[in-house]
Symmetry: C3
Subunit: 398 residues, 3 copies
């Protein structure tokens, strides 16, 4: 019975006895200063860098974005090889709606009245022929315009080329107008309605703010200095801010990025969270390595002749695609990142005594005395009652 009582007490002792380190207080201003200064540096880093600058205490989330765009503008073309023509949004914006980008036609090569037929290829080292032997029936080079019929025909009075099955007449895309056909596109405007969500924080934001009313929206235009909140952008200004000349880009086409940065600090003590618009050219325009420059694609409008035959107008469309890139990370105070960052910083505080001990035992005048009192040296030889030597240390704590 006394045994079980003793065991219980022993157990209680084991759990609730508190073992604390024996310490030595050293009244040295020098050592104390080194200790406090190192401590101060660590705290400064934690507060200054991790908390204030890098916002290490924040939980983060990525933006989810919804976008609608609406282009407005009118243009009129009057060039020699085409009838005078008026263009509106339905003519030059394609596809008519899209979620994160829109394309504005600025230049084109139009090949009207194409029908399924056969005609001689455009002259080219690989298509010029002398007689039918030079042309292979069924041969189709994807970089040429059709499938060879095996005949060699007169392309002009001087040149003979292989005959191909194709939509005829063939497109001659070397005749690209040197000044963009729809040069007026630089004055088109686009309204961008963007709403974003940070799902983790359940925060919803819109780029049309509360204070914007219909009448302002009818006359405003984005200007970084005077109207930074207006969501209507003039295409020319987008190009200019991206460091490009709109008319230059309009000839061969390109891709411009409208970058909307919704990086937000959602903590209560932070200011409002507004989008920041920047503009950048996204496609390759390196003049040295200018391979496959610009942006163009082909599409066709299909018609039927009164007798039911299909004809089409092929358009090689050059223009500017505007990619609206919405990105951003929102941060808000979170317990877990705070704990992790604080914990990591606390670890560094545990380095401080090591630095101070090292300074105390090596750089001070009285290091011998300090060492003698701090460190007890246990002799290896002694068995029952070892000789305790004070004042000499070989080991280090870390």
């Amino acid at each position: 019975m006394s045994g079980s009582k003793g065991c219980c007490q022993r157990c209680l002792h084991y759990v609730f006895d508190y073992e604390t380190a024996k310490t030595l207080v050293i009244p040295s201003i020098g050592v104390g200063f080194v200790f406090r200064f190192t401590q101060f540096l660590v705290v400064l880093y934690v507060v200054g860098y991790v908390c204030v600058m890098s916002k290490g205490y924040q939980d983060t989330d990525s933006v989810i974005s919804t976008l609608t765009t609406k282009v407005k503008g009118l243009a009129f073309t009057n060039v020699s090889d085409m009838e005078p023509r008026f263009w509106d949004v339905a003519d030059f914006v394609m596809p008519p709606q899209s979620d994160h980008s829109f394309f504005v036609l600025t230049n084109m090569v139009i090949t009207p009245n194409q029908i399924q037929s056969h005609c001689p290829e455009l002259p080219n080292p690989s298509t010029i022929c002398k007689d039918d032997c030079d042309c292979t029936v069924g041969y189709a080079d994807p970089r040429r315009n059709g499938i060879q019929t095996g005949l060699c025909e007169n392309y002009s009075t001087t040149v003979r080329t292989c005959d191909v099955l194709s939509w005829c007449p063939l497109e001659i895309d070397t005749k690209l107008p040197e000044r963009a056909l729809l040069a007026a596109a630089e004055n088109f405007t686009v309204l961008i309605k963007n709403s974003v969500t940070y799902p983790k924080f359940n925060v919803h934001k819109k780029n049309i703010f509360q204070h914007i009313n219909s009448s302002y929206l009818k006359r405003c235009e984005f200007n970084r200095a005077t109207d930074p909140d207006c969501p209507i952008f003039r295409l020319k200004n987008i190009a200019t801010e991206a460091g490009e000349d709109f008319q230059d880009m309009a000839v061969k086409g390109g891709v411009l990025g409208i970058v909307i940065d919704w990086s937000c600090d959602l903590d209560l003590w932070s200011g409002p969270c507004n989008p920041k618009y920047t503009f950048r050219r996204l496609d390759n325009k390196n003049p040295v390595n200018n391979v496959a420059p610009g942006f163009n694609f082909r599409f066709a409008k299909y018609y039927k002749t009164p007798d039911g035959k299909e004809t089409r107008t092929l358009i090689k469309a050059f223009g500017i695609r505007f990619d609206v890139i919405v990105h951003g990370t929102a941060g808000r105070f979170g317990i877990v990142p705070t704990i992790v960052n604080l914990g990591a910083a606390l670890s560094f505080l545990s380095l401080v005594p090591i630095v101070a001990d090292w300074f105390m035992l090596t750089c001070t005048r009285k290091s011998d005395i300090y060492s003698k009192h701090k460190v007890t040296y246990l002799s290896e030889d002694a068995e029952n009652e070892p000789t305790v030597l004070q004042g000499t240390t070989y080991g280090t704590t870390d």
Copy 2:
């Protein structure tokens, strides 16, 4: 030789002597309890909050999604100013396919048989004129319909407006039907096939589960209670769950979000990972600040008359764009986040003795005794053999 042997031994001592802290055991239930309780709190936090609730031990990855959608439905319109007309998917879904959104036409203003011509502008304070002097040749207001020819023409018997080059007749978009033309769109259904990938974990998932067979897919319809796994959604239900009235939205258009949340816990001990569907209106419908409401765009169908002239049917399309937003973060046990989080938590354990020491030296009855045995005070004045004072402490360890 004995010197090199001594040096070697000294070196061995330096590396392998173990320096351990001298400790004092205090058999006080109070102090012991404070120590163990603080320890318990830290461990509770680590296990409870970081590990169980926040899953701090998990490595995370964002979802990559692929999507195909297929709308089904039929509609018939019979309104006064249009011929009776039947509509199927090829008529009201545009573009016919898209990757992360689809648009269903619900209302429209149709302006058929437009040709390149000139006609008087719609009456408006800025377009009404008295004579040709009020109209400027070549002036084009992007908010109006054409480019002024400089003439002032009779718009009606009472009003004269500036003549413009444009597609004529001009669109009169104020005549928007008050009840959506394709009101039947509320009963259209959409099949959403979504497959996702977590590249870091090489995990692939699909929203059409293994147990779904063709016959079920032919008759099922998503219902949060009875058919939560069916990937076929009735448009009206999407609007209703988003808190909107479909017919209201159908008149002026809008953007509805179909949010698919693939947040997954991929650890072995977790349950299956199923998508969660939620629906939300994404565009601005704030009734107070209702600028640029709804969603519409213009597109045209181009025709050729028998004599080769181009005509078009301009359609101002109002409708609902459904943006399918796939998001989610998968988590799976990872060594690095586990180590980082555990390490940060361990740091907090190093705070526990500080709390217990503080309690022991300030709040206990016998603090003087504890202090005397724990802390040795080294006198500053002594040079060779300093006076050691016990029982008084000024410094603190942290």
Copy 3:
């Protein structure tokens, strides 16, 4: 005055006195080895795993991508129920441009010359009727083709079906060609121009490298072994690398993913950052659970007859949608993650003395002696001058 001076001195002592742990040096090779070995393991883990393998010292950012694609190819079809026809890019790529995917038409069911009219439904258990009573005026099954007029008409000489308002003649989509109509699509090529940005690091990259010139781009084709940098892909090879047969897929359509992985190590000491292309089938092709297989959609080309009536050619388009999925995470040395990871690792170093102490006090021969010198046991009973027992310990530090 002497009191204030004493207070000031006391304060100075409080701030600058340095309290250091008293330590005991144990010259035991065994204990020292355990201590150093544990230390070595922790450092090995930190350096080896966290730093070298997992790059825990890096700050990360997600990629923002811009993409243009251009398909090239020609095809010729000559099947029994259709006129011979030549196809080029404007015919089989739709929409003509899109930002992150492109669709290549490979097979189709064409229903030309549809007009708004009424005609008997296709025979089907739910549409076959005996007389008008079996048909409901206005009934529209979204899985059928039109809105019932309430009449029962002769579909053929043997079958009578309900008459429906619809675009007539109705599409018979069971007559899908068993060999893909545009089987030649396997030899089409696509040029992918991709530029990416890591906004946090302000790094821009392109998949067309500096050393690629126009003449190389005109003849090259992506090949993992010989031309890994060429951004031109043959559609057949994409399907093959994804483990699919192109001709099989072409019949019913599908979705192929072109995954571009831009995962980058942006540290100075790292190599160049090149995209890695992989290909994968993204839609469901599980042969067991093959519900809603393939990928198809319907679109129409609208025409006007000479007398102004609208007709359309309905096309049920089967084909392969290529989704270009650009993903990647860039890492670059960052102070905050380095600090956090190092800090967490340091915490583990603080565990090392606990392990060594435990070994010393339990597993060594002289543990009694070590314990007697390390631990001072304060008796609970003593009030003023407590009996200090050495050599017995119940508590533990951690």
